[in-house]
Symmetry: C2
């Protein structure tokens, strides 16, 4: 059996009791370690589980899945995924390959950022499609997210923006020379995301949002040190110190809001007066 | 401290290790028992936790929250919610009242149907807003869901439809006579939902979807007996026996699909030929 086990969002104790039982009994335990991270490191997990954990990087999952699936027809293999196994990144491909090999698959669900973001106080019902924001470079500034935000905003929906993480990346030089030297991990902040969003609006000029659009910056959702900061996109460009360490996410508000959401989120506002004024003028008119 | 603890989707072992620690230590433990249910009953939870659990019905949560929040300034109170505390139903109001009383609040997230539905094989990125379907009566047939599905379909997004549950409901007669006699619980099935959707399309005639639109019926998501059936809305009207016992949910597909999703979901199709043909003609054209 291949078990896809969600680890939740924060630390080693966010695994479910059911998931922990699977981890303790499996023949081999892999940790998918390139699409998201927990706030604790591999040795903490290994101590907590009382057994070794094999790190599975992108190369292993995408090109060497036979090793992960080896003998899973008769043994139990646990594949651990931060968040929910089918959350922000699906592992559809691994399951399809397991099916081809007649390996039964079972999922142990857990919290995903796509539901955990509800703790920011906005109704999950009113979120549209989710988008991702990558680190822009001089030559690569993909703005397809903008079209999707536009669609969401057009019908009044909130947009969850998932922020890029760079783990085990090689510099172009090291890559070309075949040197397995990796850059330090980088995690996009809410400030970087807000700034990139404003840059793209500046380029595209379609008025999808602007410096005064309301948004919520979220850090370490689901953890003890969870932190939310609400404000305009312009204000959120400058709140990284308040938000603190990774992981960050951002929610751009849609117009379809409820008075309760206003009251709830106001608590997190950088500037409550600005928040109230813009909310009153631009949001919450559908109720 | 008020702890909002998610229980996940299926049985007593879906609680996180962190959540279980909270439950074991809290002064009082409430179980919110009217917006969703686990697949196990209260006595199973009490035996598992080794302590009594107080059932909190809608009346208690909405009108008697002082009792739930009593002394939570100095004691720990655990409020258990099926799924994620901020998933399908938010408990925003309870948190706002806790804030007024200077009670600190902490959330222990867990799987929600809004992320768990990813196990059906569709990318969560491409879901639009979520809608609810209530049991229609002769006089009450709300169709606001139709407008929201229309918005989602217009931009090619999938729609998760959450199905009505009726727990601790009184008949009109018993309600008017003030008799605390409750009807047996009712859980909407995928078949009932698909039929009601087709009725509304028949009334509204806006062509938002039709008998041949593709959808996925889901039962007991996240549980050992999890079951998915994919087919046209017309086909799904007749699949309740295959899907089995509650809880059910339904996903109406949007056009924005990926070949991997086709391959993954096809496994669940009532009729693979029909599935392939309609998919080819109507879906997956954006890639």
């Amino acid at each position: 059996m291949l078990y896809l086990v969600g680890l939740g969002l924060s630390d080693e104790t966010d695994i479910t009791v059911k998931g922990l039982e699977v981890v303790k009994k499996a023949s081999r335990v892999y940790l998918e370690a390139y699409t998201s991270i927990l706030l604790v490191d591999q040795p903490v997990l290994e101590a907590y589980y009382g057994r070794p954990v094999i790190l599975a990087d992108r190369e292993m999952v995408e090109s060497n899945s036979e090793e992960i699936l080896r003998d899973a027809q008769t043994e139990d293999v646990a594949f651990l995924v931060v968040g929910d196994p089918f959350g922000a990144t699906t592992h559809t491909d691994l399951v399809l390959r397991a099916r081809e090999l007649q390996i039964p698959v079972r999922t142990v669900p857990n919290a995903s950022i796509m539901s955990g973001i509800g703790a920011a106080g906005l109704q999950l019902y009113n979120f549209g499609q989710t988008v991702s924001m990558v680190f822009f470079t001089d030559t690569w500034r993909p703005s397809s997210f903008y079209d999707r935000v536009k669609e969401n905003r057009h019908i009044g929906l909130h947009t969850l923006v998932l922020l890029d993480i760079k783990v085990k990346e090689q510099s172009m030089e090291n890559l070309m020379r075949g040197r397995k030297i990796f850059e330090p991990p980088r995690y996009m902040t809410v400030g970087q995301c807000a700034a990139q969003m404003l840059e793209v609006e500046e380029d595209r000029q379609e008025g999808v949002y602007g410096p005064d659009s309301l948004a919520i910056g979220a850090a370490r959702v689901g953890g003890k040190e969870e932190k939310f900061v609400a404000g305009t996109l312009k204000e959120l460009c400058e709140q990284d110190e308040v938000l603190g360490s990774p992981l960050h996410s951002l929610v751009l508000l849609g117009r379809r809001t409820h008075e309760l959401e206003h009251d709830y989120v106001r608590e997190f506002a950088v500037n409550k007066e600005t928040w109230d004024k813009i909310w009153k003028d631009e949001y919450g008119k559908q109720h």
